[in-house]
């Protein structure tokens, strides 16, 4: 299973799972990063971090360290 943090810019994939049971993981789920949802990496900030994602019709920014918790289907 690959991590969202390593996904190239411009690609879309399906979320497989969000690891961890702390508030950060819960926040990612609450923002809509739930298993099965399609997520696109729209871009990154000039210094490579954080990421800009598109999911459920809106834009979300998360750091790579947080994206690392999100597993995607290959």
């Amino acid at each position: 299973m690959r991590s969202l943090a390593k996904m190239p810019v411009g690609l879309t994939a399906q979320v497989a799972d969000v690891a961890g049971d702390d508030t950060t993981s819960l926040r990612l789920l609450e923002m809509g990063l739930t298993p099965g949802v399609a997520v696109t990496v729209v871009g990154t900030a000039p210094l490579g971090d954080p990421l800009e994602l598109e999911l459920r019709g809106y834009r979300l920014s998360i750091r790579r360290s947080e994206a690392d918790r999100v597993a995607i289907h290959p």
Binding site: D21, T23, L29, M31, P35, R56, L60, S61, I62, R63
Partner: protein, 671 residues
């Protein structure tokens, strides 16, 4: 009721609807960036009360309006994504809705604001609000923007899915506002909605293998996916919206960075230069009032109190208003159009290394003009830890009040020689070094604090990048008004009080001796300051400042500059018997320079001011917290007097160490 019963049941006196007094209480709930503030302005206009909820530094905003003879109190809850509280802001939302917030009546109904362009994620909060046990009205905002993007929401179908009324409102044009207010008047008599059957069954079949909260979140989205399928019609798919195109330009590596630098430079120069004429105007006005009072009042203590204490104190407060208003104008515009989150996005990587976050950037940048608006702008940082850390290091940025000190000492004591190339002069290098010292020390302090005192689990940077839209003038102006009023009301009164105390310390015990002429008056004024409590404090701390290369008069001037750093020039003038010195006056400044150059240690002809001493003074002022107003604002913004004490202590300690190292190294190197 017996006392045992009273103990057993929680106090519900605040939880009963306040119908007897005749007004309805309505809570406004919603995700951030949904147009909640615009709706608040459209319904209630200017808020009647802005303050903090008891015990927490979460803003309480309440408005009042009357519809069909019914008085309605509108509580604008902080923007939140979930009712599973993860921050003090979210806890406040939950407490108010459950009637557990002390001094706040439990609302009679909840209005949930949902962004039609982003329905799925907004429905998450709606799904939680349905279970709060209060009548719910869902308001769909930004329907016009959604339509332009080819998204249409069937409000009747949505209402049937949710089991509560859904009203579409375009607040700036007041479309649907009438229908909403009609509903509000009746809503208090409604039954709370029953949980939609489909939602209940999704929740009932939540994955038992996962942690309960995570399973619940996934179950809610399973229900939301179904609802969105049934009520949202997308006419055009895959069409890049205007917002997306703006977004790809402004978050682009090269263009985005250039636009960002240009925008920040514009804001920064505005708080520097645009505010200057306004500040001059205020100074002139205060001077005129002081001159008037000076002429009217009889010579004596009262006059000194009014002119040097009260009027100077009030002037010292009002003078900050232009910078606060201009900064908040820009922040509100950037926030309204969606750029504030993009700025944080662009700068995050740079700041995360030292333990801050992208949102710290604008507060810190503003602090180069003045720490006070900068610290207030830290309100835009939702995360408490990041906010506190930003506030603690913001005063280390070299503000405009330090500039006159740097300029005077660089001009007078740093030799004007070339460094490497002919156009680069040493005073300019020293000046730049002073700004660099502040930045470097702030980075180190933030780094150390984030790994010691503020150590904890990693703070998430899960941030929505809202769609691009035009800022609402009403919301922007309200934001500026709010910042100005809260500064005047909360910090202003205290700053005046502190100014008066410092005036008293600098004036007592008094020296009762009439002066015959101006020169004698200047000498007497110096003598009076040296005799005062402040002056004695300077004497008292001489052993502490001696290792910095300072004589006791310099110690005195440093202590007496506690109200504000720029005061040190005037204090130096007085203490070296010059009378009042206006740093702006060329002649006065050069007189001050001559006086300072001539100053010698008591009982010897050793000069006080040498290059190492001048450098040590500059480093001290770069790092010290000699600004009473900043400390007061830190106290008010953090809601605790611990933080100003911490700020003052650590900055003074750093300033002393910095000045000590500079002087000792400079002397050892034979400068």
């Amino acid at each position: 009721m017996s006392s045992a019963e009273a103990l057993a049941t929680p106090d519900h006196s605040t939880a009963t609807p306040d119908r007897a007094s005749g007004h309805l209480t309505v809570a406004l709930l919603g995700n951030p960036n949904t147009g909640k503030s615009t709706l608040f302005s459209a319904l209630a206009g200017i808020p009647t009360r802005i303050g903090n909820y008891p015990g927490v530094t979460v803003e309480e905003k309440v408005g009042r309006f009357t519809h069909r003879g019914q008085s309605i109190e509108l509580i604008d809850l902080p923007g939140t994504y979930s009712l599973v509280a993860k921050s003090p802001d979210e806890q406040v939302v939950v407490d108010v809705l459950e009637g557990q917030m002390k001094g706040v009546t439990r609302p009679d109904c909840v209005v949930v604001v949902a962004d039609a362009t982003n329905l799925a994620r907004n429905l998450y909060l709606v799904s939680q609000a349905l279970a709060v046990g209060l009548p719910v009205i869902v308001v769909l905002t930004l329907g016009d923007v959604a339509e332009a993007r080819g998204i249409a929401v069937d409000t009747a179908a949505l209402s049937a899915e949710l089991g509560c009324p859904v009203v579409s409102v375009v607040a700036p044009q007041r479309l649907g506002v009438g229908r909403l207010t009609d509903m509000l008047v009746e809503a208090a008599d409604w039954q709370p909605p029953t949980l939609p059957e489909r939602l209940a069954s999704c929740l009932a079949t939540a994955d038992p293998a996962r942690p309960a909260a995570a399973a619940e979140a996934i179950a809610r989205y399973a229900w939301i996916d179904g609802v969105v399928d049934r009520v949202v019609v997308r006419q055009t798919d895959h069409r890049r919206s205007v917002s997306d195109r703006i977004d790809s330009l402004l978050t682009h590596r090269l263009w985005g960075t250039l636009v960002f630098i240009t925008t920040m430079l514009m804001i920064f120069s505005s708080i520097f230069w645009l505010a200057a004429p306004l500040m001059d105007l205020i100074s002139a006005g205060i001077d005129a009032v002081a001159t008037g009072a000076d002429a009217l009042l009889p010579e004596g203590t009262l006059k000194s109190l009014v002119v040097d204490g009260v009027i100077a104190g009030v002037g010292g407060v009002v003078i900050f208003l232009p910078q606060i208003a201009i900064l908040f104008l820009f922040v509100a515009i950037l926030e309204g159009c969606g750029y504030l989150s993009r700025a944080a996005f662009l700068m995050d990587r740079l700041l995360v290394g030292v333990g801050l976050s992208g949102k710290s950037f604008i507060p810190l940048l503003s602090s180069f003009a003045c720490a006070i608006p900068g610290i207030m702008a830290a309100r835009t940082i939702e995360n408490r830890r990041d906010r506190l850390l930003t506030i603690l290091v913001a005063p280390l940025m070299s503000c405009s009040a330090r500039l006159p000190v740097y300029l005077l000492l660089c001009g007078a004591f740093v030799p004007n020689v070339a460094v490497g190339v002919s156009w680069l002069r040493l005073p300019a290098v020293v000046l730049a070094a002073m700004y660099a010292i502040g930045v470097v020390v702030a980075a180190v302090v933030a780094f150390v604090l984030s790994r010691t005192v503020f150590r904890g689990p990693p703070q998430p940077f899960v941030m929505e990048l809202p769609g691009w839209r035009w800022p609402q003038p009403a919301v922007v102006l309200e934001r500026v008004r709010e910042a100005a009023v809260s500064f005047l009301k909360n910090a202003g009164t205290l700053i005046v009080a502190v100014s008066i105390v410092i005036w008293a310390l600098g004036s007592y015990p008094r020296l009762e001796q009439p002066a015959d002429n101006a020169a004698a008056a200047a000498v007497l004024k110096g003598e009076a300051l040296r005799q005062s409590f402040l002056g004695r404090a300077g004497h008292f701390i001489e052993p502490v400042v001696k290792p910095l290369g300072w004589d006791w008069r310099l110690g005195c001037a440093a202590v007496a500059s506690f109200p504000a750093r720029e005061v040190v020039l005037g204090t130096l003038g007085v203490i070296y018997n010059l009378g009042d010195v206006d740093p702006g006056e060329e002649e006065g400044a050069s007189l001050l320079i001559r006086q300072l150059r001539a100053a010698t240690w008591d009982g010897s002809d050793r000069k006080v001011f040498t290059l190492p001493v001048a450098l040590s003074i500059m480093v001290f002022f770069a790092l010290c917290a000699q600004c009473a107003s900043t400390l007061v604002v830190i106290g008010k913004e953090t809601g605790s007097w611990v933080w100003p004490v911490v700020t003052f202590s650590y900055m003074t300690a750093l300033a002393w160490v910095g000045a000590f190292v500079t002087y000792q190294a400079g002397t050892a190197l034979g400068w």
